[in-house]
């Protein structure tokens, strides 16, 4: 939390946050979401309040409830296949652009042995390349894993059946945080289910019965609170 009472803590995109940094003595400040160095000054890239102390909690902008996802490397996202091409797929991850998923970018895949995802199928993948001026690239390969996509034991890959819900980005991030994970486990004691939370705000849920899936989906949707 910004400790100075008088410093402005709310910023609009493009606004420099220098004044708010006066109370930070450090040489090295850790920067997170929503901040970028432009022209030698640290500027906000989204509208919101400045949070964090630059040390244990990186300085970041806590943006208002957003649903439009901006791809960033190493993000784990849930996507929907929109197009199929010879060399791969184009996947909707809820951002401004479709992401590219190479045909062989699956655990243990080869030319003869690779998933033939249908249009409209749901995948869980990792962002391997993202730049604001280019289409993002995703992959279903987990580094260091030897599991094959065929068995369905691989971490990334197609998600079959189940239901998909869409939540604001901050809520998805909160669910991936330890506190959120605890809540999900508690929910799991009430109703057994499996889920994949995408950083892009799309959550895939599957339980034994449709009834249970509906209950979990309703519980999660109801838990969404605007930022």
């Amino acid at each position: 939390m910004a400790t100075s009472e008088t410093a402005n803590t709310f910023f609009v995109p493009g606004e420099a946050i220098d004044e708010a940094l006066h109370w930070i003595d450090e040489e090295e400040i850790r920067i997170g979401d929503g901040l970028e160095e432009v022209g030698g000054r640290l500027r906000a890239t989204v509208a919101g309040a400045l949070r964090g102390d630059g040390r244990s909690v990186p300085l970041h902008i806590q943006a208002a409830s957003r649903r439009r996802y901006t791809a960033a490397r190493e993000d784990a996202v849930v996507g929907i296949v929109r197009e199929r091409h010879a060399d791969g797929f184009r996947v909707d991850v809820g951002g401004g652009e479709l992401a590219n998923l190479a045909a062989l970018a699956f655990q243990g895949a080869s030319k003869r042995n690779r998933p033939q995802l249908a249009i409209g199928s749901v995948v869980f993948a990792r962002v391997v390349f993202a730049h604001r001026d280019m289409e993002p690239e995703i992959s279903c390969v987990e580094e260091g894993s030897v599991k094959s996509w065929v068995t369905g034991e691989a971490l990334y890959g197609e998600l079959k059946g189940g239901q998909l819900i869409r939540v604001p980005l901050h809520f998805a991030r909160a669910l991936l945080h330890p506190t959120g994970t605890t809540r999900m486990t508690e929910l799991g004691r009430e109703v057994a289910f499996e889920s994949v939370v995408g950083v892009n705000g799309w959550i895939w849920i599957r339980a034994e019965s449709c009834q249970d899936t509906v209950r979990v989906a309703a519980a999660l949707s109801a838990a969404v609170v605007p930022h």
């Binding site: 929907i80 199928s121 998600l159 059946g161 239901q163 449709c210 509906v214 209950r215």
Partner: protein, 348 residues
């Protein structure tokens, strides 16, 4: 009825839920509807209806114009509906955009105009010379299924909230009064149609047919067909529209008709309640209001916001009730004087 935004999983989930025992993806019963809210004003004839997450805005404008030569004593009622790009990403693609707009416009026309919700003859000012033209424009600004039901509720509310200038006719001489001279009068709304739309599903394996009232976006993406009925609070069914090839038995349609009648009563009462709480602001009840305190929605937002925006009455207003029509405003009524939106016809 494929919705490009949905995944196959979501579409299949809707059907699996139904097969599991008439369950719906959002937990509702098959005849359950989402919460409906009605917000009116500040301009006369402006209504916003939310039905779950679907949000629709309707605006009614009234101008004087010449009638059609073959209908010299009838006013004009035109409806134009549109899915705004705000409503969802699928509404920015040219192919879908046009088709759905036309479909929705046509459906609302059927419900409102073909059932003569507004009496066209009562819109006549001077036969063969001058009539009122009522222009209804509808925008879906957020979409989660069932645009039609939200739109008809919004249009019905907007028509009841709208006002037209008062006129004095002596012989062939027509004098249209400005809002400052004479209080604008309501439109001749004969009845308030309300629609109830159902998504229809045919399970080819078992042969079972399912109907879900007030479909969500996900259900619309999975459905095989749809059925819409319109009715009013006087227990009259005013329209029925069935799309898609799902076969329905007469008994099923009758059951839907009953649900529609119940829905019509519910929604009409909601609209009437909204009209009571948010009545159309009249110029005279607010005393002499100087233009700089009027929020003119047609002009770009200039300088500082009007003092009335925070729900507090502006300092210059005096409240006078005219023939007991408009109740004294309480602190939480958003009584802003309407902008002068009427195009006044000059002496004809």
């Amino acid at each position: 009825m494929v919705n490009e935004r949905l995944s196959r999983n979501e579409r299949e989930f809707v059907r699996s839920c139904l097969q599991e025992g008439g369950l719906r993806a959002d937990g509702r019963s098959l005849d359950g509807t989402r919460p409906l809210t009605v917000r009116l004003g500040p301009a006369p004839g402006l209504a916003e209806v939310t039905l779950g997450s679907t949000r629709c805005v309707a605006q009614v404008a009234v101008d004087a114009t010449t009638p059609f030569p073959d209908r010299p004593e009838e006013g004009l009622v035109t409806i134009s509906a549109q899915f705004s790009s705000l409503a969802g990403e699928q509404f920015t693609a040219p192919t879908w955009y046009g088709m759905r707009d036309d479909e929705l416009t046509r459906s609302i026309e059927r419900t409102m105009r073909d059932t003569r919700a507004i009496e066209s003859e009562s819109l006549c000012i001077l036969a063969g010379k001058l009539v009122w033209a009522v222009r209804i424009s509808v925008q879906i600004i957020d979409y989660d299924g069932n645009a039609l039901d939200a739109a008809t509720a919004a249009v019905s509310a907007a028509l009841l909230h709208a006002r037209r200038p008062d006129v004095t006719i002596s012989g062939d001489d027509v004098r249209i009064h400005s809002a400052e001279e004479r209080e604008p009068v309501p439109l001749p709304v004969v009845h308030t149609p309300v629609t109830a739309s159902f998504a229809t599903f045919e399970d080819t394996a078992s042969g079972r047919i399912y109907l879900a009232l007030d479909p969500s976006l996900q259900e619309e993406g999975a459905m095989d067909g749809s059925l819409s009925l319109s009715a009013n609070i006087h227990q009259e069914i005013c329209g029925i529209y069935k799309a898609g090839g799902v076969p329905l038995e007469a008994a099923t349609i009758l059951r839907c008709a009953q649900l529609t009648l119940a829905r019509a009563e519910e929604v009409t009462l909601d609209i009437q309640q909204a009209l009571r709480l948010q009545p159309t602001a009249g110029m005279l009840t607010l005393g002499s209001v100087v233009p700089d305190t009027v929020t003119d929605l047609s002009e770009p937002n200039t300088a500082e916001p009007s003092p009335t925006e925070n729900n507090a009455p502006g300092p210059k207003r005096q409240k006078r009730s005219v023939a007991g029509e408009h109740p004294a405003s309480s602190g939480d009524n958003d009584l802003q004087p309407p902008p002068n939106q009427y195009e006044l016809a000059t002496n004809h």
